[in-house]
């Protein structure tokens, strides 16, 4: 590493007296005194959430109202703080989405452990779990801060789907069967 000597200019008389410098500083702070406030009065005013924000993880449904999670448990395995607990379950045969592999019987995310890293969203092969814009989590007890399946779906809502993977798989299977 080359050493670069930096020339320090000697202070001018005004700088050494220092009072003009203070006056300049006073002028700056005086302008700030009359400039508009930048604080957001939080509970009344809410910040605009930018796209791609990583809030609380939620589960989503597809536009047909089918729960997209197939309880493959990849998110549970990748979750660094082990905030996710999934109990896989079978789908009854008379269900309209019986052609889907599985569905979670229970799906708990412990918000006291979640670190909002977004790995669950990234790893999900079904695009079923998304970190959406809920940023404020509070509760009076520990158990209140564990989001259960129904609450996760309530927070997640429905997101648009471009694949309809399981429907197309079912259609392909039926077509293949008809072709013998």
């Amino acid at each position: 590493m080359a050493v670069v000597p930096i020339q320090r200019k000697p202070l001018t008389l005004a700088e050494r007296i220092y009072l003009p410098q203070i006056a300049a500083g006073l002028w700056i702070t005086l302008r700030h005194l009359f400039s508009p406030r930048v604080t957001l009065s939080y509970p009344e005013e809410r910040p605009a959430i930018p796209p791609g924000y990583r809030g609380a993880p939620t589960l989503v449904k597809d536009p047909n109202g089918r729960e997209k999670c197939v309880s493959c448990q990849l998110c549970e395995f990748i979750c660094p703080p082990r905030a996710i607990r999934i109990t896989p379950g079978a789908i009854p045969a008379d269900d309209p989405s019986a052609h889907v592999e599985k569905a979670p019987q229970a799906f708990d995310i412990d918000m006291l452990r979640c670190i909002y890293c977004g790995l669950c969203e990234e790893v999900c092969p079904e695009e079923a779990i998304f970190l959406q814009n809920k940023y404020s989590t509070s509760g009076y007890t520990r158990s209140e801060l564990v989001n259960h399946k129904d609450r996760l779906y309530e927070m997640g809502g429905t997101l648009p789907d471009t694949h309809y993977k399981w429907d197309r798989k079912k259609a392909a299977a039926e077509e293949g069967a008809s072709h013998g």
């Binding site: 702070t29 700030h32 005194l33 406030r37 930048v38």
Partner: protein, 379 residues
């Protein structure tokens, strides 16, 4: 007024003392609130604006404005300090630990007595100052008593029996002693000027204001214009004496946690705070009297002329109130200046404070004194 003068002497004293406490205490509290607001505004924040007494919040326009100004935080803070539990750390020397904040209050409140805060024109056309004790030593009394305030800081630092308060106390004593010299030397030219040879000598602050309200160009000029260097030195030393930024060595929360009051909490801590702000108020008052013309509304516009212009000559009560308002407005401007500087200038290092005090301000004030002494002798 006559009724008041007929009261026994000790009762008058008690009333005056209570008046000081009930005026200065809330003023100091209001200053702490103003400090929070001013700092917030300078940093682009709205500042404390939540606390409100419900039935005042119901008043349509006034309520929300008062809430936004944060006036009720003052009430909430005060109540908190009174009712909060007072932890006394185990290692402290309990007697002196409790004594220190009280000692801090004494000079803060005592100096108010000799500071005139207004005047009215008497029946004979003479200016009658409003003050609690019109003593001829005036400013000397202020200096003598206010320098006792160091004992409070030293005692607090020493009695706390812990290293940061101790360092804070030591810094406080060193700083206050260093700047007291320049402070006193800076005002000597003023008194050299007003004490004409032959006339009875005086240290009275009333005389200083009277001197600044004479007719003519030189007579009506405030000492700020005729002695700018004295005013600057006095102001800088005043910042140091009141432990304000950039000289708040005794406190310097970045390196000393809280300085001399690290171990204090609740009401005792708030007493230090009130004492600091009272010192600021009295200091600003003395600066106003010495260099800003006291209760004269504008330079070259003395109070008597102002009274004649405003038609208040026959109303001593109204004129008295007006003069007090003018004086208090000047003090508030000074206090705003204190806060303004605090949120502008970063804290000096300890060695810088010492160098500034001993190597710059002290020689400068001595030269200033010598120059004015020669000039005044020559005239």
């Amino acid at each position: 007024m006559n009724l008041f003068l007929q009261l026994p002497f000790w009762f008058q004293g008690v009333l005056k003392g209570l008046a000081v406490i009930f005026v200065i205490f809330p003023m100091a509290g209001a200053c702490s609130m103003a400090e929070r607001k001013v700092s917030a505004w300078m940093q682009g924040r709205p500042g404390p604006n939540r606390a409100i007494v419900p039935w005042i919040g119901w008043i349509p326009v006034v309520g929300p404005v008062l809430q936004r100004l944060g006036l009720f935080h003052l009430l909430a803070d005060g109540l908190k300090f009174v009712f909060k539990e007072e932890p006394v750390p185990g290692q402290v020397n309990k007697f002196y630990f409790g004594l220190a904040p009280v000692l801090g209050m004494i000079p803060a409140f005592t100096t108010v007595a000799v500071v005139p805060f207004g005047a009215y024109v008497g029946s004979g056309g003479e200016i009658v100052p409003l003050m609690l004790a019109n003593v001829d030593v005036g400013l000397l009394a202020v200096f003598a008593v206010s320098s006792l305030g160091i004992y409070s800081l030293i005692l607090a630092g020493w009695a706390s029996n812990s290293k940061y308060p101790f360092l804070g106390g030591i810094r406080a004593s060193a700083q206050l002693i260093s700047y007291e010299l320049s402070l006193t030397l800076a005002v000597v030219p003023v008194f050299l000027w007003i004490n004409a040879p032959g006339a009875p000598a005086t240290w009275s602050l009333v005389k200083v204001v009277e001197f600044q309200s004479q007719p003519g160009f030189w007579g009506g000029a405030w000492f700020l214009f005729t002695m700018p260097l004295s005013a600057a030195i006095f102001l800088i030393a005043l910042f140091a004496e009141t432990n304000r930024q950039p000289f708040d060595m005794p406190e310097s929360e970045a390196d000393l946690v809280g300085g001399f009051h690290t171990e204090y909490g609740a009401f005792k801590w708030s007493l230090f705070f009130v004492a600091e702000y009272s010192n600021m108020i009295v200091g600003s008052g003395v600066f106003t009297l010495l260099f800003l013309g006291g209760w004269n509304p504008l330079p070259w516009l003395p109070l008597a002329k102002f009274a004649a212009l405003a038609g208040l000559l026959g109303h001593p009560l109204l004129l008295g109130i007006a003069s007090v308002a003018i004086f208090v407005a000047k003090i508030l401007l000074m206090i705003f200046f204190f806060m303004w500087v605090r949120w502008t200038v970063p804290r000096f290092r300890y060695d810088q404070v010492m160098r500034l005090g001993w190597q710059k301000l002290l020689p400068l004030s001595i030269l200033n004194l010598a120059a004015y002494a020669v000039g005044i002798a020559w005239l």
